[in-house]
Subunit: 429 residues, 2 copies
């Protein structure tokens, strides 16, 4: 059974409401990709058994590997087990090994399983039990109609662990027999500061009509992400296309590329600060703490991030950063001069190597003709080390941006612009 394509089915009526970060399928997509399997479809269904069954049937028709997540819990809403049993005509049987695993897991927490929790040990007959190294609900795997079907819990950390422990080795072993006609390798490159049509223009001619190479662009407030996929019949030969192609993209987009793969802007900045043994402090007005939050998402960030000042009011800008009242009065809180004074103030007062600042109008209110919503100033003060074009305030570099979008996306873009300014400065060192 060659395994090339996969479908992920996420189960849960609440997921249909949307508005959540789809962590689960991100992790599974990466894990499947590392086994050489391309996720071609994703589906979301509610808790209705007939809907789960319908999604499973459709998926088995078009994908070699079907991974279901969710609906394995102890409540009546958890109907993945019975839906799979029904579709595959393998009645649910009480699995002794599964029940024992549930008992052991709960015993470790000093508890005994309830009848509802023991129902989680019901597994379609003949299916293999997948142990849950993190939670109580076991998963299972079976083969039906030529497709490999695995049911995993809906909690991302549980699904990730179960996949890594129980499925990855097995699927990776299958890879050898894979004839790899699907997408065999993929790279992603993340850019900031360049618009989509300009990226498209610069990448012209890179994806010939034979369909072996696919380029995709995704626009978000964090920038334009390029994904490069190489597909083909002869796995090894085609995979060799990827590296020179990625090199060409790097050359054509240069400084706009801030990261590749799963690395984030804040991780790149953290890596560069660590490499250069530099510390940073931030002064945020319109971003309201988002830059600090992003920098501190990275484990170990306390080694280079000292503090952040969220100076929403003018008083806070004066008290905490020493922005001169005269400057605030003359140029306003949203001005190049204030951005420069904020960056300098936070660097001097925190005694860090670098001070980074943002001031702007996130909207929807507060805009004027001269200073519209989306106007953002970023300031970078690296003391004696600054080498970029210096402006009025000595040694501080500032940049002006005009962003579009709602409050949330203007905040995101402003935080990205500030971190990118810091990244570029660090790269040039």
């Amino acid at each position: 059974m060659p395994m090339r394509s996969a479908e992920i089915i996420a189960i849960g009526s609440e997921l249909l409401l949307g508005g959540r970060l789809d962590t689960n399928s991100l992790l599974l997509t990466e894990q499947l990709a590392s086994c050489g399997i391309e996720v071609r479809f994703k589906s979301v269904v509610g808790d209705e058994e007939r809907d789960i069954a319908s999604a499973l049937r459709a998926a088995c028709q078009r994908a070699d590997v079907v991974v279901l997540t969710g609906g394995l819990g102890p409540t009546k809403d958890d109907r993945t087990r019975s839906a799979v049993a029904h579709v595959t005509e393998r009645p649910l049987r009480r699995s002794k090994v599964a029940a024992e695993a549930i008992r052991r897991r709960l015993a470790a927490w000093g508890r005994v399983p309830s009848p509802a929790q023991l129902r989680q040990g019901l597994i379609p007959s003949g299916a293999e039990v997948l142990f849950n190294p993190v939670g109580t609900a076991p998963g299972f795997a079976l083969t039906w109609n030529g497709s490999f079907v695995a049911a995993l819990p809906g909690v991302p950390s549980e699904a990730e662990h179960m996949f890594a422990v129980a499925l990855s080795p097995w699927l990776a072993a299958k890879r050898v027999k894979n004839d790899s006609r699907g997408c065999i390798e993929r790279r992603t490159l993340h850019t900031f500061g360049i618009i989509e049509s300009e990226v498209d223009q610069r990448l012209k001619g890179l994806a010939p009509a034979d369909g072996k190479i696919r380029l995709g662009l995704l626009v978000s407030p964090l920038g334009v992400t390029i994904s490069v996929m190489v597909c083909g019949d002869g796995a090894t030969a085609d995979a060799k296309l990827l590296e020179p192609l990625t090199q060409t993209i790097r050359r054509r987009l240069g400084k706009y590329i801030y990261a590749e793969g799963v690395e984030t802007m804040e991780e790149v900045v953290g890596r560069l600060l660590t490499r250069h043994h530099l510390t940073v402090a931030v002064a945020e007005s319109c971003t309201g703490g988002l830059i600090g939050h992003r920098l501190t998402q990275v484990p170990g960030s306390s080694n280079y991030f000292d503090r952040g000042i969220i100076c929403y009011s003018n008083e806070a800008k004066q008290d905490l950063l020493g922005v001169p009242t005269s400057s605030l009065r003359r140029h306003g809180a949203v001005s190049m001069e204030t951005a420069a004074a904020m960056a300098k103030g936070v660097r001097l007062r925190s005694r860090t190597d670098i001070g980074l600042s943002v001031t702007g109008i996130a909207g929807p209110g507060g805009g004027t003709d001269r200073k519209p919503v989306g106007l953002v100033y970023v300031g970078l003060d690296a003391g004696r080390a600054t080498g970029l074009r210096s402006l009025r305030t000595s040694r501080v570099t500032t940049q002006t941006f005009h962003f579009h979008g709602d409050r949330q996306s203007i905040k995101l873009k402003a935080s990205q612009a500030a971190l990118d300014m810091l990244r570029r400065w660090l790269v040039k060192r």
Copy 2:
């Protein structure tokens, strides 16, 4: 043609990578619900025409309304038009009205359409053109095999506007003829501070076996969200069940419910602060700016949010908040005493009504046996107004939490715990 159930198909290879907030389908799900149509399935497919076609065929078999988003742009990757044309056997024709709309839109920006942009005016023959009030790509709608199919752009704001202007009135009009056997109304209630099994226990008996009422629980770092759905044959009679049911849930979960519907914790806190004419300042250690970021996501937050101090280093805690060195030495940076001193320090120095603080260990490093990863202290100082159980430091209330999860989710939980403590205090006033 009765319209009860819908499927949303999101198109774009990049979407298969996951890790993005699914704003688009959140908005569409709400818009469809307001027309009395329940989203029963969601699918994500790449840019391959055959995959789009396969998803469309499956969707038309199981849903009355199919909404496709994305793949309408000017590049070669945009294959929604041709996939729909192929499946429905309605060849693409150049639509004069669509081309004219594209020209007008670009003229407003002082530009003329490129041949690629004019390709966006190709529409399956006989389909209705949906004008795009925000961007250039027009959408279209047609009926095929008993299903109503609409193709909208992938950019959320464009899809939302197009739906509101072109589809909502039409679908809402259909509602009258609807026999409403699907889910007819839905409420969501958001809780924090109570675990899923306890919520499940408290809601026992509320969803009888006749299936008219469905309850769903969704666990995330922000808490447990309950969705209540009423389904049935006689729309009006059954809809009346919803309000008393919601009342019962409110009674059974009481103070744990922090919001209903689409309102967020930060919006609730903002609303309460505004009502009581109170201002707040925050002092954040392990949350790194996330509380400030969340508070400032709300438009108008500058009226009650003065400043935030992200004090990652001990020096910052001393310099900016006056946390005594002796206290830091004796109790440590992560302690009830430090949390209290931070809350008091930020309130006094910012001259706000309330000071809110968080200190803890977000991990993965930095934990010890006595102070493990996930230990978080929250402090609230409301000056003379504090009425809760006061601890050692006068007038400051503190709470201790032990959170599980990775760095990101511990930060989220800690920010939610702090905002919830503030919310409960404001509610009690």
